[in-house]
Amino acid sequence: MKALLTGNAAIARGAFEAGVSFAAGYPGTPSTEILETIGRLYPQIEARWSPNEKVALEVGIGASLAGVRALVAMKHVGLNVAADPLFTFSYTGVNGGLLIVSADDPGLHSSQNEQDNRNYARSAKVPLLEPSDSMEAIEMTVYAFRLSEEFDTPVLLRTTTRINHTKTIVTLKERQDIACREYRRNTPKNVMIPAYGRLRHQFVEERMRRLQEASENTPLNRVEKGNSIGIITSGITYQYVREAVPDASVLKLGMPYPLPAALVREFAAGVEELYVVEELDPFLEDAVKALGLNPRGKELFPLTGEITPAMIAEKISGKKLFPGVALPGDYKEEEIPPRPPVLCPGCAHRGVFYTLKKLDLIVSGDIGCYTLGCLPPLESIDSCVCMGASIGIAVGMERANPLLKGRIVVVIGDSTFFHSGLTGLLEAIYNRSTITVIILDNRITAMTGHQEHPGTGKTLRGEKTVSVDPLAVAKGMGVKRLRVAEPLDLQSFTQVLKEELTAPELSVIVARHPCALHKPTAGQRYYVRIDKCSGCLLCLRLGCPALYVQEEEGKQKASIDKNLCGGCSLCSQVCRQGAIMEEVAE
């Protein structure tokens, strides 16, 4: 049967066809829909969100050791979190096959960096697969489990955003019947004390040698014969190369690590000009150069962002892929205002950022929708590095610079708090920090499209489970000053925040209000009484997409787009003229 699937849906399908029975992950664009699809379509697979990627990999390792095929999916930065188990699991190897999917994001469509996770395959010494479309995503997912079990290794499947979120046509197959393997204690293989680790490292190096042979022979690495221009490529750039220089010879690497050295040499010998086309790091290029070959790669193509077919055509064949565009004479790029993403209209947590800005605090931020509080006009975040970093960073700032004391606040989302905020909070308690931690508890993982997490009371499949309360967690850890505050009530929220800032100890404030997109407030919409509006435009400092300026008899007045208004009431609280009122229900 044929279907049109995104790369993510295809990986989920591949897991189904490969007889996988366990899947875990933590949401992160562009990987999220892999687990979501498994949860929705394949009841044969136990699918779950873990609190973070490290735990997801660990439960995956457990499933593998216990004897079943397991898939673990995450975005590229998630693999940093899961790197610790990965590097040593590479030594122990598997029982049931284990596949790690790393979804990279060249171009930073939705990420804090654009690291190239192919490097993880090399440093953790595991084989790497890179699909070029959804059909290959299915095939490689299935193949990965055979490879994993045959070579006793975890396998890394690396995608990029354009693979994850592009739909292409696939053919669907039946599910393989894979029985659970027998479990037996195997101490020298699975208990990594130094004595056994040394032996397993030797095994790993020998495995790399055998994997390299496999890479020479796998049909995933193939030559497409063309003219005397030779291009080595993998992943999405394979498609761009075929589009841009259709007559070139191409060495397509579906399994780029370990590199099939003999195949590369043979390919290079058969062409006159040799190129490597790859996004981000010169991963292939360096390996090809280490063979003593001299391809052109990063001297032509950027180390940052995405590559396009037009770029490839221009650099390799010196041709323009499309004739120039004749833009209208009045077309000026400078005139086009950017359209950055924004906190949704109706988002209660806007009230937190409004308050933080008003009080002129130093805000250690974290990752989620709320990171958007860094943009004008709210402009109230000082730093944001990686998930969970906010608390540690705040602790360090406070201790290092006494002038900042009493002004340092953390904002961290509920999902992020459970992901990796807990250990940061322990640091703050243990080392007697006096910062104020605000947990923005919108009861969901919002940024990535509303996934459940340990605080929501539901599992990935929507089944009921315990709901962990961040306040109870903080209390259990030993935090003495704990508050719950309603971010929609500006006055009382400001009061609570001021009290906690002046307190000479660590405080945790849970700002609790559900996500406006997930659970919209049922309240009335608001409108501006033009006769009362003084035109001060204070309300516009909330940065709400529903508020705008209107000319009224030559004067600027605030106005509310009632199709957008979320009914949060923040603007009416901010207005000093009492000009913003609730609409009366008809």
Binding site: H165, T166, T168, L321, P341
Partner: protein, 196 residues
């Protein structure tokens, strides 16, 4: 009908339904026996940012992306986004634009201004420009979120496709309870007369 070969961009503001519109186009094209590649944007920009879906339909497609000067059609659910993505339109391309204006935050806060007279400038910006107040029509059909379907109706008519085939594609992608109003909106777009 002939098997279609075309390249188009769906552009708009996160939350306006470009992903759904992309799904409908893809279902329709598949049914016509064409190959399709659809590249979407998920994640951060869906929170009210500028969004784009790339669609390529044909017999042999490698890159899923549409490039500058490569789109035969641009379907825009908002005027500023039509203008932003204009460099992607081919020289003889067709621009289908919803007349709606949605101010981005820098405009709302007064830091930037929304380009003046964009409607008349867009009208002169391409070989063929079809402007329509899709939101108004969608509201008339009882479903403000169906403005995207009005634009699909215009597109379907423009490429000479049969209405029933599109209804089928809508049915495949839209839940029963919303289907009727979406079909109404699609039909309104399909029947719209343009004087150019």
């Amino acid at each position: 009908m002939m098997t279609l070969e075309t390249t188009l961009l769906l552009v708009g503001v996160g939350g306006q339904g470009t992903i759904l519109a992309g799904k409908v186009i893809a279902s329709w094209a598949l049914k016509q026996g064409s190959l399709v590649k659809v590249s979407e944007v998920h994640g951060m920009s869906q929170r009210g940012g500028s969004v784009v879906t790339h669609i390529r339909i044909g017999q042999e497609i490698f890159s899923p992306l549409v490039e500058r000067g490569g789109a035969e059609f641009i379907i825009a659910t908002e005027k500023l986004e039509a203008w932003r993505w204009l460099p992607y339109l081919q020289q003889n391309g067709t621009l289908i634009v919803n007349e709606q204006e949605i101010y981005p935050l820098p405009v709302l806060t007064g830091a930037r201004s929304y380009p003046h007279a964009l409607g008349s400038r867009l009208q002169k910006s391409a070989a063929r420009v079809l402007m329509i107040d899709a939101l108004k029509i969608a509201l008339r059909c009882g479903e403000p979120r169906a403005a995207n379907m009005v634009l699909l109706g215009v597109f379907a008519k423009e490429i000479g496709a049969k209405r029933v085939d599109w209804h089928q594609a809508l049915k495949q992608n839209i839940r029963e309870q919303y289907l009727e109003k979406n079909i109404l909106a699609f039909n309104a777009g399909y029947e719209q007369k343009f004087t150019i």
